[in-house]
Amino acid sequence: MTMTLSEQRVAAEETPPPPVRSARRRSPLTWYRGGGLANLLFVLPMLFVFVFFSWSPIVQSVIMSLQKTNLIVAEWVGFDNYLVVLSDPELGRAVINTLWFAVLALLFGFPLPLLMAVLMSEVRRGKGLYSALAYLPVVIPPVVAVLLWKFFYSADPSGVFNTVLGAVGIPPQPWIQDAVQAMPSLVLEATWAGAGGSIIIYLAALLGVPPELYDAAEVDGAGIWKKVWHVTLPQLRGILFIMLILQVIATAQVFLEPFLFTGGGPAGATKTVLLYIYDKAFRNSLGGDYGEATAVSVLLAIVLAVLSWLYFTLTDRWSTT
């Protein structure tokens, strides 16, 4: 049974403090002699950095979301910014696009690394080489990777992917130049770029599956797929779930791919929530709409906080280690 802070405070006021022996009382002097000052000084720079660079901007943006400001003149407008953005159909569209990205990312990006990891764990020789190959895209700077893929996605018949498709008789595709194909194209690149990290985690998790379970399954006459289905996946249940939540949190913040690939186009088909915030703050209003942009940021932060809380509570409950 836990008490809330206020309950604790009330409880503390009601019960007289238990009598303590003087030797155990922490006077400032004993605190100082015990090296308390050194501890405090060690913490101070870190604390300073946190307050200055992390917490104060967060407080600042909450304040900004209640103002109409361009950082030079500011006036208080209460919750107007929230009302404006929540009634903006473009934000709804951006939320749907972000969810669409998340769904596609799960379809492409969730099973693929798992499959790769299962296959790689079956490999006897050269496991290190495969791991390195799988992890390689992760070390390529994201911007470089996107620009490279932008080149691959050229809609010309002479584009890299279109040449490959042409070789098997498929006509050239517009890729990111088309409202329907743009989002899957982005997700494909994001999956390629991000799969390596997931694969490494799954590989580590697979090592934790007791081999005797496989032996037992084999005795029962299970083939490889049955082994995967009845042994591997249930054993990985916890880690799979954690990865799922992490991926949802990550996709909610997708910005780089649509920003660099399409700028949110064609016709807004890839405009995500973060890109919406960016456009509102910087591209279209020249700083006149910082308030509205931070209002969306605050809303997004709340949603992500809920997801993170879910993640923490569930990891506590599901954790197999």
């Binding site: 000084l41 101070l44 700028g263 064609p266 591209r283 020249l286």
Partner: protein
Amino acid sequence: MKSPTRTLVAGIAALATVTALAGCSADGGEGDASGKTELRVATFPPGADAAAYDAFAAQEKQFEKEHPDIDIIGVEYEWEGPTFAVQLAGGSLPDVFTVPFTDSKTLLENGQLMDVTDAIDELGYTDRFNPVILDGVTGDDGKLYGFPRQAYAAALHYNRDLFEQAGLDPDNPPQTWDEIREAAKAITDATGKAGYAQMAINNTGGWQLTSQTVARGGRTQTDNGDGTAESTIDNDATKAALQFLHDVKWEDSSFGSKVDLDWGTINQEFAAGNIGMYTSGSDIYTALVRDFGMDSAIYGMTVVPLEGDDPGTLGGGDIAVMSPTIDETTKAAGVEWIDWYYMQKLMDEDAAVQDAKTLSESDQAVGTPLLPVLSRELYEESLGWIADYINVPVEQMAPFSERIWDQTPVGEPKVKTQEVYSLLDSVVQTVLTDENADIDALLAQAQTDAQAKLDE
């Protein structure tokens, strides 16, 4: 083990270091040790060639000789909407810089520009400016917020080399939209390159659609004169401009495959010889050669075809402005600099010749066709002054220079300019990516959305 006191001293030292690191900040123009006024001025975009630096260094010397009490500090600068507001608030912008007409309205409404009405009056320029252009820097309160520095008109840029390959006459470029469409098809059929291309992303799609609406006699916004405006996007001219795009892209297949170009990337594609024709400002020659390595022999420029009842040429340009956060002394120095560096060469023969000579000696483009920010007579006279230094291929730009005077310049929409452009980006992209797009429905929706933004 250290004593607590020694820890205290070490800790304070460490903390002081952190504070010093965090305390970096750009300060504005302060007097330096010699009692001069330091003035930080915008020069040119980062990444310009060494010659541009030489040219500026020479000009800085000339100015400081005439104004011994001012110390000029050149700062690399490029107008970028996304970073502007933050730089301004953070004090990292130069004291004097330039912004495009398009955005000057928004900026002055946001209180992000210095009021320079008195300075312009004192210098006696107020009546000398072209009224269309002066209107672009006038706030709703009638105050002036900058010095119009140079202006451009919309132009059609074309690749003379591709024209020849397609059997077209590069000295006789298309004069109607239908002729542009025919020429585009001829170029694509003969060379496989994009016959005609158009910007579509990062708000340039809306900008060019607006430009072509005006060229066909329509307007996308009517100003009520009190800071409010009516959206008139849903009109026949805009419809025709979109229908033209649809036909070039889907019926003739002469648009090429790239529908995600903006100002920079379309210039890059053109300089690389992949585009037959496109519309953009008449002032891009310098960027094409300096930043994108275009071979000047392929370059041709003509006017945008006009049709309809009340057609005009969308004009734009940039204005020299000052940060609203600087003090009076710096402001006075800033006015001196703007007058000397940007304005005098437009009206004074000696200043014009000195400027052209300095630029041409450093191999910078001199003589790119512009719109006069003052009067046409003065502009043409000034071209006479600097005739010896003009180093751009004037004959290849003649179709533009000869006809531009018959066109009426029209300013860009003033209210929520970028946000409306962004809406129109979507419309342009839809037409270019969906063969069956319903143009009427798109425009009706865009007008509703734009009006909602205007009424905010």
